[in-house]
């Protein structure tokens, strides 16, 4: 966004105002725009879509009454929660209890600062973008721990502690998974990483070499765990902990926790996309900057929403892991594999500084082959079960 503001200043749009004030004002303006124009609707729509997707997987229909196909369900739910009483338990640590949800939302919303929606649509292209991203998402754990502690409830406390253990553990594989990309692109800036990739799949970092290919999936798994998503949602495991750290919350504050969760889903998808799947890269099909940016935004949004969709699908498929299984997965499997990826990528860069074209094409072909096998298995299950088919997503 900075070049845009610089141009405005150069054109004399803010004559007589100190440059710092203009920057601060514009930053707040864009921040508000992103939060209210993008984060809130995307979190809401995701909550609706998630329920619809689960419903189809479970042979149900899901919310379909509010608006066309139940699309406005999220608004109804949001308004309902806003109108509910905001209960603070007597024994709770009042200031901490009241402030904890804001921490969680803050941690998620702050990541939108460095998410590049298109080549010019980014609030701030920091040169430490990826570092900043991992740093601010760690704020979530502070909020969750605060919520768990301040609720003065055993379920909340266990949920908060579990969440802290989980998020801190999974920071390591997540960081290890994005380090190979930092090696390859030689920059921490999110725009720089996307600029180092191309529009075609074989230009993406996920298909650059076998190590980054594994790292892409590893990052996704670790990010899901960091976002407390099923199959790693032990901090709010309903069958064990009521609702974990948000047991005592109600009304607007409860809404904030879930807004953060669903907003975080999009962030996971966006970060995976920008690191491994080419970000907003499109072929240079037009010289019109506005049109180009719109198409880039569309491509980026679709790619990141694809990963959101996958996470819904995974949530409807896999059962919740146990605490010890969670830690085993992190420390015994993801961390060693992460180091292997890091060292492997470094060696790869020494052997093939320009990358190996054959391997890149090979990995893309491998992915296609896996997808083909996937569709064959799906057709096998359909043949065997002989269900009544219904292809339309609308019902």
């Amino acid at each position: 966004m900075q070049p845009f503001i610089d141009r405005l200043i150069a054109n004399g749009a803010f004559a007589g105002m100190p440059v710092e004030v203009v920057y601060a004002l514009m930053m707040i303006l864009f921040g508000v725009l992103v939060v209210f124009g993008f984060f809130l609707p995307i979190a809401g729509v995701t909550s609706w879509l998630e329920r619809r997707v689960w419903a189809r997987i479970q042979s149900r229909i899901g919310p379909n009454r509010v608006g066309p196909q139940g699309f406005l369900q999220w608004l109804a739910d949001g308004i309902k929660l806003l109108l509910k009483e905001d209960i603070v338990p007597d024994a709770a640590d009042r200031p901490l209890f009241l402030f904890a949800p804001y921490f969680v939302v803050w941690g998620i919303v702050a990541t939108f600062v460095v998410i590049p929606f298109s080549s010019s649509l980014i609030i701030a292209d920091m040169n430490v973008g990826i570092l900043y991203l991992t740093a601010v998402t760690a704020l979530v754990v502070v909020g969750v721990l605060m919520a768990g502690w301040a609720s003065n409830n055993k379920w909340s406390l266990i949920g908060g502690i579990r969440s802290a253990a989980q998020i801190i553990s999974y920071e390591i594989p997540a960081s290890l998974a994005l380090l190979p990309i930092v090696l390859l692109s030689g920059t921490l800036s999110t725009q720089g990483i996307i600029a180092a990739q191309g529009w075609a799949p074989w230009h993406w970092f996920a298909f650059h070499n076998p190590f980054t290919f594994i790292a892409a999936f590893m990052f996704y798994v670790a990010a899901l765990a960091e976002g407390n998503r099923t199959p790693f949602d032990i901090p709010e495991a309903e069958s064990e902990l009521v609702a974990g750290f948000c047991t005592e919350y109600s009304g607007f504050r409860y809404l904030l926790f879930f807004m953060a969760e669903w907003g975080n889903l999009y962030v996971i998808g966006a970060v995976a996309t920008l690191l491994f799947f080419g970000g907003w890269q499109v072929p240079a099909w037009t010289s019109n900057t506005v049109l180009l940016n719109i198409s880039q935004f569309g491509v980026f949004f679709l790619k990141s929403y694809f990963w959101v969709f996958i996470s819904m699908w995974v949530r409807a498929t896999l059962p919740r892991v146990r605490v010890d299984q969670l830690m085993i997965l992190c420390w015994k499997y993801l961390v060693p594999i992460g180091f292997m990826n890091l060292i492997g990528t470094a060696i790869w860069m020494v052997v093939w500084p320009q990358g190996n074209r054959v391997v890149q094409y090979g990995l893309v072909i491998l992915t296609v082959a896996v997808l083909v096998q996937f569709s064959r298995r799906v057709r096998f299950h359909l043949r065997r079960a002989r269900p009544e088919l219904y292809y339309s997503p609308a019902i």
Binding site: R56, R60, A316, K332, Y333, R377, V378, H381, E388, I395
Partner: protein
């Protein structure tokens, strides 16, 4: 030992990937399956009540035309939700039904009353939407004005109004006491024994 551990380590990874892949294919196939949900009550092609089987144990109903006033149902009811007053008319020596109340709020739909009924007068319907605003309104009062109790005729029923009701009642008893699938089962057992 160490070699086994390493082998198991890689087997775990392989198993995880393979089983997650397979699980995802199963759930993916559900995307194109038709949902089973019945959107009760407003988006159903036919009323749910009409799709229920004949023997469905819904809210009780009494056909006063064929009630003999034998009080068998009242005696059979384990929670006394049926109350019947059947005094004898001193002049005509006929049994009068002056009260036949069933408290649906108490009823537990066990079906014992309809099993003992000799004419199938008291029977379950497929109606199940019984919600109301007070407990008092849950009591179904079937006798509006005193009626003469039904008496079985030796030559069979000839009254065109009563005959179909009685026929339905008898069919209900038959189905209820010995359902069709039970008959089939017995026949099979018999043929198997023979």
């Amino acid at each position: 030992m160490a070699k086994n551990d390493i082998a198991r380590y890689f087997k775990n990874i392989k198993d995880a990937v393979a089983t997650i892949f397979e699980g995802m294919t199963v759930t993916c196939s559900h995307f194109v399956r038709k949902p089973y949900t019945i959107q009760y009550p407003d988006r159903v092609p036919v009323r749910i009540q009409d799709t229920l089987p004949f023997r469905y144990r819904g809210i009780l109903e009494v056909d006063l035309e064929i009630c003999t006033g034998c009080l068998a149902c009242e005696r059979a009811c384990p929670i006394d939700c049926i109350v019947i007053d059947a005094p004898k008319d001193q002049k005509t020596k006929e049994m009068l039904l002056t009260r036949f109340d069933i408290d649906i709020a108490k009823c537990m739909y066990c079906g014992l009353c309809s099993e003992v009924c000799p004419t199938g007068s008291i029977h379950h319907t497929t109606e199940f939407e019984g919600a109301d605003f007070s407990l008092e309104s849950m009591i179904r009062r079937f006798v509006k004005a005193p009626v003469v109790a039904y008496k079985a005729k030796k030559e069979g029923e000839t009254d065109p109004v009563v005959a179909p009701i009685l026929e339905r009642g008898m069919r209900y008893i038959q189905e209820f006491a010995e359902p069709a699938d039970m008959k089939k089962l017995k026949a099979e057992q018999k043929s198997a024994a023979a």
